[in-house]
Amino acid sequence: MLTSLPLLSITIFLPLLGAFAILLNWGNKQTSLAMNARWVALWTSLVTLGLAITLWWNFDASSSEFQLQDKFQWMPLLNMGYHVGLDGISLPLFLLSAFLIPLCVLVSWTSIQNKVPEYMVAFLVLETFLLGMFSALDFILFYLFFESVLIPMFLIIGIWGGSNRIYAAFKFFLYTLLGSILSLLAIIYIYFEVGSSSIPAALVTPFDPQIQTWLWLAFFASFAVKIPMWPLHTWLPDAHVEAPTAGSVILAGVLLKMGGYGFIRFSLSMFPEASSYFTPMVFTLSIIAIIYTSLVALAQKDMKKLIAYASVAHMGFVTLGIFTADAQGIQGAIMQMVSHGLVSAALFICVGVVYDRLHSREIADYGGIVHIMPRYAIFFMFFILASIGLPGTSGFVGEFLILLGAFQVNTWATLLAATGMVLGVAYALWLYRRVVFGQLSNPKLKELTDLDWREKIVFGPLAASVLIFGLYPMPVLILAEASVAKVIDQFNLALEVDGNLLVDSKKSLEVALLRKGQ
């Protein structure tokens, strides 16, 4: 079959090729140049999506191993290699990234008019970094992709953003850089402990619990800013509000998931003792995030800001789920990340659709648009309900599984998180009522037109996937099952071994076998 081709690497670097193609066109007439750039970006990202689906097809979900691996010597002197591969935890997020980029290109089709080629190049480069980040199996490579994301995102917010874009771009950049620089130091430390920068090798290396605490905190600084956890979330509302629509889509859809992915892949798998030690702290922060940011969302006057705060609350569920260290909890967290990637992306597009027409994000400027934009109202309602977690939508599956997992670990946390869900219903429905229902009070609204064909093409696949994963979530859950089970087994075994002060030889043999992956 296709196994002889380095399919994964081709998928990762194809967008870069598209970016080059756009750059080569530099110097023609302005309008045709912009159009070419749009089409090249769209086709490149669609082909990438196709390749990503092929990868899914070739993926064996019953195995917990890294699959579709590509490997070559990159810096042989330092034992740092180029090594990529996917497992059940990274593949859903990999697919999510590949799925959202074509939509981003379509969303920006008419709303971005200046520096179009540069804009498309930024998105394609961003796609390469994101795909590479989720599939990297080498620490240095992972960090390279992880932090490279900052450059295109900084430019996207800063060049094509709203009025306060400079402040937002700097805040985004410096916040995330501050977090990730600490994880770089931790990565270098791990490199010396393991003797190479290979992630699979590090995953089976037991670390001294004393040192785990420091390493865990260093990684936490990075991922907690990225995901973001309260109280490190303050960059997010600014960045979301000021970014262009597609920028918000990719921020909420994929960039936040980098944090969740990091927690599962590194914090939980490599530092089980530290993770269990810090679980109460993570739970507390998650609960605060869920309740506090839901309340803050209630008070927002700006639509994008409201959705941004809602994102923080939803990510609170994800961190809660991950640190239950329970199969349902982590599966739920992955499901929730995929679902939130789709739903929040769709909600930001919903805001973008009316923003393109009225150039206002103020809730007060709207009201009664159901009368003039009925189709829009239907889509908006569907995504609002999915955000609430209505059964039948993907949002329900994720949150339910997380609560199920959390209930077995900590009933109080579950209770409080469920309260947060009620608040979520309040702010989401209230937003919908104020924007869509009521009287057409603002005369400017009368000139709005309903969705055009391009916007329908964008909303169609999003709505379909939210519905499908809501009714039949098994594709995602089956994908993740084996890998999640492996993470949890390792986690429990490590703690069990520590629990028994007298480690008998049989047990440690068992540990060794399991760490080798049987």
Binding site: W26, W74, M75, P76, L77, L78, E118, I140, Y143, L144, F145, E147, S148, L150, I151, F154, L155, G158, I159, R165, I166, A169, F170, F173, L174, L177, L178, I181, L182, L184, L185, I188, Y189, Y191, F192
Partner: protein, 493 residues
């Protein structure tokens, strides 16, 4: 009767060539009236190119020679340093042509001075003896003082040149005093003999004057690399000198001085690692902190770059502070990448006009130029992101190796300080990107805002080569790494 001893001359043709070319250009300039500035620069470039050519073909990997009674040495370590110096000089000399002409600095003495300074730096790094080291240092120092003062009827330039000279002379004095103390203790100026004498005694028995001498030598070198607390001259000199001169003073000589610093610390003074390490850690941390915070408020581009250079040197010193193989490698990788970024950044500044037609001075002069010159601003943005250490650009790898060296030596706090200051420093690098890309053109631009200086082919070549190296370094990191590893192996560590 002493046997007649003929030194091995095969090592020094590059140096001889540079000296002769400098003399030749001076002669031709004095006696042939119509010597154009550009032609003298081209002579200089050819001389430097030939020297580089000879150096590369004569060198054999893994070999080490000593000649002139053990005063001059060549090994992989020195080879790497010499290649860097020659390449850096070629780049800076080539890109200075248009703006030197713009500033009416077309005296033919320019090229010979650059050549002599380069010769001095070569002597500095290949010296195996304190006397030769001192001679080389003075040779480059005196040439640079004259270069700094080339614009002699401009008050600000004279001030900068005077500052540079007085503080440089002060550093020289310190260095000389340090050497004499060293000589007083060990009875020798040769590095190998000094090393063996120090090694023969246990550290506790060593005389105090030796440590005083060591500290004097370190202080003088810290002056040369503008490390805190000996950095005061840097911003003034950077700002005061004409930009092409700044590009020369701030780039290659720092690399040469840093290599000497590294060589002295890990070769003759390695036994005293426990004694000098804390000092290097201190000046490294202080440089990073001052470099990061002092630049935040700067609006003058050259002042900003001066503080940035102070910070960057702090990272290199982190590599020296590690004092192991990894440290040496990281210093070389960092210096290589830094030199490329530095020359590239100045090549960008040298191709633009600002408020005044002479060139860019203020950050405001870059406002909105991405609309006028997409490629130039792209390249400058690449250098800025790289200086900030953001992957996948080369600057990230430089920082990565330095952090790796620091952690391998257990210098966790220094690494953490380095990480945090790099976040602070990234703010002002981003500010330059912001001015170019996020801001609109000024409402009432000055007549020359954003216009290009006469672009010469030389500057385009330098600019494109530097940008390409920074952009695609991540594809081929091995070449530089291997050279750096060989350099590290050449030292008896």
């Amino acid at each position: 009767m002493a046997e007649f001893y003929m030194p091995d001359f095969s090592l020094i043709p590059p140096e001889v060539l540079l000296a002769l070319s400098a003399l030749f250009i001076l002669m031709e300039g004095s006696f042939v009236k119509k010597m154009s500035f550009r032609r003298s620069v081209h002579y200089g470039l050819v001389a430097l190119g030939l020297a580089l050519f000879y150096l590369i073909f004569q060198n054999e990997a893994g070999q080490s020679w000593v000649t002139f009674e053990g005063q001059i040495k060549q090994d992989d370590f020195i080879f790497f340093a010499k290649v860097l110096i020659l390449l850096g000089s070629i780049g800076t000399l080539a890109m200075s042509v248009p703006s030197m002409m713009k500033e009416n600095l077309t005296s033919f003495e320019y090229t010979p001075l650059v050549l002599l300074a380069t010769l001095g730096m070569l002597l500095m790094v290949e010296a195996n003896d304190f006397i030769i080291l001192f001679v080389g240092m003075e040779m480059q120092g005196l040439s640079l003082y004259v270069l700094a003062a080339l614009h002699r009827d401009h008050p600000r330039v004279s001030e900068a040149a005077l500052k540079y000279f007085i503080l440089g002379a002060f550093a020289t004095g310190l260095f000389l005093y340090g050497i004499s103390l060293m000589y007083g203790f060990t009875g020798a100026t040769n590095f190998d003999i000094v090393a063996s004498v120090i090694r023969a005694e246990s550290v506790n028995d060593l005389s105090l004057s030796l440590f005083v001498g060591l500290i004097f030598i370190m202080a003088a070198l810290a002056f040369k690399v503008s490390a805190v607390p000996f950095h005061m001259w840097t911003p003034d000199v950077y700002q005061g000198c004409p930009t092409p001169i700044t590009a020369f003073i701030g780039g290659v000589p720092k690399v040469a001085a840093m290599v000497v610093f590294l060589r002295l610390m890990v070769s003759p003074f390695l036994v005293l690692y426990g004694e000098w390490q804390s000092l290097v850690v201190f000046i490294s941390a202080a440089s990073m902190i001052v470099g990061a915070f002092a630049a935040l408020g700067q609006t003058d581009l050259k002042r900003l770059l001066a503080y940035s250079a102070i910070g960057q040197m702090g990272y290199v010193l982190m590599g020296i502070a590690s004092g192991n193989d990894e440290g040496i490698q990281s210093v070389f990788v960092y210096l290589t990448i830094y030199l490329v970024m530095f020359i590239g950044t100045f090549a960008c500044l040298l191709s633009l006009k600002g408020k005044t037609p002479e060139g860019v001075q203020e950050m405001e002069d870059l406002r909105g130029i991405s609309l006028l010159h997409p490629r130039l601003s792209f390249v400058l943005a690449v250098f800025m992101f790289s200086m900030a250490g953001i992957p996948p650009l080369a600057g990230f790898f430089a920082k990565l190796y330095v952090f790796k060296a620091a952690i391998s030596a257990g210098l966790f706090y220094l690494a953490i300080i380095g990480g945090l200051t790099s976040v602070v420093a990234s703010y002002y690098y981003l500010k330059i990107v912001k001015v170019m890309y996020f801001d609109a053109l000024p409402a009432v631009p000055s007549a020359s805002h954003g216009q290009l200086l006469v672009l010469s082919s030389e500057i385009m070549v330098v600019l494109n080569v530097c940008a390409a190296i920074i952009l695609i370094f991540f594809l081929f990191p091995n070449g530089v790494l291997e050279l750096a590893q060989r350099a590290a192996l050449a030292l008896p560590i």
